[in-house]
Every structure is written in structure tokens, then in C-alpha cells.
């Protein structure tokens, strides 16, 4: 029977899963398979599993429960193996790599930071500081109906915006880097200009949070910083 795989932990991990629900409806029952060193938390794989909110939450809750008692390697959502035996084979095959990653995330949590800037205030600043952009804008507003003008303005502004946001993102990373053991950036989505995860030691969490708050104060009201954590170390496994 196909099994859904949640996490890999050391077999010494207590795996207090109690009655935590698994994915699927009705929720599958969690169990573990493994060897002397490594174990995987699994459940029967429900038929036609889809990434519904409940299932994503179940996957996430397993990681959060496990990380309270020791290092955990969270799988990406949605992976199934043919049967228990296939999971055991993978644990054997990748034993060294898994053990190495478990050591790397031991005593650490992931903090995930996304940052956005209010678009109007950003554009105001670009217009205030670029004579060329301001001049183009005035011409368009003045009724010039040359279709090249909005394109020229837009291109100029887009370049300015990108350059500014790259500098901002770099300065945020630079400020937080010394407080984290590892970092992992992704392309930002939507209005965000920064999407980054940090691996932070438990001892360093308070300092890290304080620094993010300080940064947010420095950046001011036009910025929206969303910090999530402590989280399972999804980005560092």
C-alpha cells in the first residue's frame, strides 16, 4: 500500500505524535518506519490526495510537533512511496546525507521573511529623485500623445524601482546575515521585493527577532515586513 511521507528524524527522536491527524479525509493515522539510526514519519496515502488546506495543515503540524523535540527534516508536501519497504530503502541509501542535514539543523529553526514596499511611496521617491522621469511624467500629464513617452517613462521607472529594491534587499540581508547560520533566498512574488529564509539557532532567536523589528522601524511606514518563525527548516534540508 502506498504511503505518504512527512519527515525524516533520528531514531532517537521521541516522535510523540499522539493522536495528531495525518493527511486525507478521514485523516490517516501516523506511524514510523526506520532503522537503527533514521526513521521516517509516514501514514497510509489517501486515494486522490490533493493539496487542500486541511492536508497542508496536517503536513505542517507534523513538522511542528516533531521540531519541538529535536531536529527534523521536513519533506516537501505531497511525496508518496510505494510501501514501507521503499521508505526503508531510501533511509538506508541516503543515511549519510540525512544524518549530515540533521546535524546542520540541530538546535535551529527557520525564520522566513518577506518584504514589500508601498508602491505609491516608492514611485513618489523615484519621481522626486529622477529629473528625467519627472520631465517625462510632466509631458504625458501635459497631454503629449506620443505613445513612446509612457513606455520610456515606464522603462525608466521600472529600472529605478528594480535597482532600489535590489539595494534594499541587499541591505536587509546584510543586516541579518550575521545573526543566522545559513540563508536561502527565493525570487520574490507579488509586490514583495524580498523572500528569504534564515536558519537561526535557538540561542539567537531573540536577537534575530529584535533585529528584524529594528530594521522595520528604520525602513518606516512605507514598508511591510512579514516575519514567520520559528518554523521547521524547510529551506535548509
Amino acid at each position: 500500500m502506498a504511503v505518504y511521507v512527512y519527515s525524516v528524524v533520528a531514531t532517537t527522536h521521541p516522535r510523540r505524535l499522539d493522536d495528531l491527524p495525518g493527511v486525507g479525509d478521514p485523516p490517516a493515522t501516523l506511524r514510523t518506519v526506520g532503522n537503527r539510526k533514521l526513521s521516517a514519519v509516514i501514514s497510509d496515502a489517501p486515494e486522490g490526495l490533493r493539496p487542500k488546506r486541511r492536508d497542508l495543515a496536517a503536513h505542517q503540524d507534523v513538522q511542528e510537533r516533531l521540531m519541538a523535540d529535536g531536529p527534523v527534516l521536513p519533506l516537501q508536501f505531497g511525496f508518496t512511496a510505494a510501501d514501507d519497504e521503499a521508505v526503508r530503502a531510501v533511509l538506508e541509501e541516503h543515511a549519510d546525507a540525512f544524518a549530515e542535514r540533521l546535524r546542520a539543523v540541530e538546535g535551529c529553526s527557520e525564520y522566513h521573511l518577506k518584504a514589500a514596499q508601498d508602491e505609491d511611496s516608492m514611485l513618489r521617491r523615484v519621481l522626486a529623485e529622477s529629473d528625467e522621469a519627472r520631465a517625462l511624467n510632466e509631458r504625458i500629464r501635459g497631454g503629449a500623445d506620443n505613445p513612446e513617452l509612457p513606455l520610456a517613462l515606464g522603462e525608466l521607472v521600472a529600472q529605478e524601482v528594480q535597482a532600489r529594491q535590489e539595494r534594499l534587499a541587499a541591505s536587509v540581508l546584510e543586516a541579518l546575515r550575521p545573526l543566522a547560520r545559513e540563508e536561502n533566498t527565493s525570487p520574490a512574488t507579488g509586490n514583495d521585493f524580498l523572500n528569504v529564509s534564515f536558519l537561526v539557532t535557538r540561542d539567537g532567536e531573540a536577537d534575530f527577532r529584535t533585529s528584524v523589528r529594528k530594521l522595520a522601524t528604520e525602513l518606516g511606514d512605507d514598508f511591510d515586513l512579514r516575519l514567520r518563525g520559528p518554523l521547521p527548516a524547510y529551506s535548509f534540508v
Binding site: 531510501v90 507579488g190 512579514r226
Partner: protein, 150 residues
């Protein structure tokens, strides 16, 4: 500025305790985490919409036009910053008009501009007030994530 720490900051509070925060970590659950090649991944159809929301490539005509439009609109709102220059301009126009041959038409235009300016400056005062009103920013901040959810 809004910093949203995860509520409580503690882990493992059991079944679905953190579902409220799920949205913000969705990309981690779906795109990061351990990937094992030997395993099969369930279909993520239905969640692809998240990928579509990937940041618009900055160098596209659509982006340029959108930025240009936003700037045009923005400057009209922020026009309050140059009332003196504009008043001067109207003055010049009136003078030109009185010197020119098509006097009637030009002074008519100048009046129209003065009228527009008055309306404009009233609006500007309003928008300046709104500027200081924090509610406006919150409205904007909440609009952002809701767009992702759609």
C-alpha cells in the same frame, strides 16, 4: 511598517493550531523541504495559481505601461506640492492672452485652468490628510495578501 511574528512563537500546539498562518508559509511547504527522487509526488493541480503569481518580469511592456500610468495618476494626487508654479503659469497665460489677438479664447482657457486648480487644490488637501491617516496604509497592506489568495 508591519511585523507579524508567528502567534505565540511556540511550536507543537497540536492539530491545526497554526493553520491561520498557513498562507504565509505555503511556498515553503510546497516548494522547499526535502525532495526524494525515488518517491512520487501527488498532483498539485489546483495550487498552480501560486506559481502564476510569481513576480511580474520587470522588463515587459505591460509593466512599463502600468508604472507610467501609476506615475501619471500619482503626480495628479501630489500636485499640491507646486501650487505656486501653477498659479504663475496661469498668470502668464492670462498676460499672453491679453496681448494676443485671440483674447477671448485664451482668457476663457485661463479661467478654465483656474477653476481646475481650485478644485485640484481642494482635492490635494484631502489627499494630504488621507496621507497622514494610517487607515489608508492598512487598507493597502491588507489588499496585498488578499490578491495572492485569489
Amino acid at each position: 511598517m508591519t511585523v507579524v511574528p508567528q502567534s505565540g512563537g511556540t511550536v507543537a500546539r497540536g492539530g491545526g493550531a497554526n493553520s491561520g498562518n498557513l498562507y504565509d508559509v505555503l511556498d515553503l511547504i510546497l516548494d522547499r523541504g526535502l525532495v526524494i527522487d525515488a518517491f512520487v509526488r501527488v498532483s498539485l493541480v489546483g495550487i498552480e495559481i501560486l506559481k502564476i503569481d510569481a513576480r511580474v518580469v520587470v522588463s515587459s511592456v505591460d509593466t512599463y505601461l502600468r508604472f507610467a500610468e501609476a506615475c501619471n495618476r500619482l503626480d495628479l494626487e501630489a500636485g499640491a506640492k507646486k501650487p505656486e508654479e501653477l498659479t504663475d503659469l496661469v498668470g502668464d497665460l492670462t498676460e499672453d492672452g491679453s496681448r494676443g489677438k485671440a483674447k477671448g479664447a485664451l482668457s476663457g482657457a485661463a479661467e478654465a485652468i483656474s477653476g481646475a486648480l481650485k478644485e485640484g487644490s481642494e482635492e490635494d488637501e484631502e489627499s494630504d490628510e488621507r496621507e497622514k491617516e494610517p487607515v489608508r496604509k492598512h487598507a493597502r497592506a491588507t489588499r496585498r495578501p488578499s490578491r495572492h489568495r485569489e
